[in-house]
Subunit: 189 residues, 2 copies
């Protein structure tokens, strides 16, 4: 299943395992901390977007609705779902990360983590970038195709949805770092 | 720099290296082929989007322009740039991939590939998903915020921009597979 990191204690091949063992434990602890922060980032993003709404006291010329919620735009619903899935995965994967701190020479389980981290990073990036494209449009509008900048009316709504992107992008960078950490740890095992 | 895969020929430790060596060479060839296909995918996407335009013979009620090109929407410009960067990277990385077919036990260079593959996958996914969000809006529109479905007018334009997403998403899946392949190859070295 895996190369056993406790070979030093077993006295089987103590030649060069000791320093590798320490470095890999360090990498595992970095993995654990970064994973926890990434989970918090997705949680903050998902909750911020999911609770965003703004009611205007009047009907404006261009808007036929006076209340804006995140699920008026399907892309934002996808963003909330993506953040939820990735957050749940990151919390679950903390268990495997803790296991790697204890058994720091594990290889197979690190490959498994790389596979899932990569897929989850792709999902999170898809959600964040799709939402960013719509947020950009909400701010700037597009005069060429007559899509109005709704942020002129819904300023607090737009402030919150823009802010909610930050946690997602931080978590994406965190996941990229996690993939690299795992690759380095595997190469040293 | 790297663990040398030619140790079998050197006669240093022929015990279990031979099968690993063969499997890793197989993984390297799979990497090379998939990388070439991913490069073609990004090339096709970038060129399709970058050459898309449609001129309408009349001004319609909702449109103030009669010619639609991809760079009317900044998101599509980002999509073309992202595809271009990733395509150039994938072509360059073919050299390293060929090197891995020859020296199939290389470790450090595979870690380097994982780092760049991950960053490029994130970039490509960002471009593809942002473009997908806008394409979705162009097709469906959004009655809540009065963003009209421009595809009712620009049908051939919309057909091409939708099609151009396919190559990008295939390349993204290809890059995910490449990251996994590299991780497996490193774990076997």
């Amino acid at each position: 299943m895996m190369k056993d990191g406790s070979s030093v204690e077993d006295g089987q091949s103590p030649k060069a395992d000791a320093p590798d063992h320490k470095v890999n434990r360090g990498l595992s602890i970095a993995d654990l901390v970064m994973r926890a922060f990434a989970a918090l980032g997705t949680l903050a993003s998902g909750v911020t977007m999911g609770t965003t709404n703004q009611t205007l006291p009047f009907f404006t010329q261009f808007m036929q609705f006076s209340r804006a919620t995140y699920n008026d735009l399907p892309t934002f619903t996808f963003f909330v779902i993506a953040n939820g899935i990735v957050c749940a995965y990151l919390v679950l994967s903390l268990l495997l990360s803790i296991f790697h701190v204890i058994r720091s020479a594990a290889v197979i389980t690190r490959v498994v983590l790389i596979v899932f981290d990569t897929v989850m990073m792709a999902l999170l990036m898809a959600g964040a970038s799709a939402a960013a494209a719509i947020v950009y449009l909400a701010h700037k509008g597009n005069t060429k195709v007559n899509w109005f900048a709704i942020c002129q009316q819904y300023d607090s709504f737009c402030g919150r949805i823009s802010g909610s992107l930050v946690g997602s992008y931080f978590a994406t960078i965190g996941l990229i770092m996690l993939i690299i950490l795992s690759a380095v740890a595997i190469s040293r095992s």
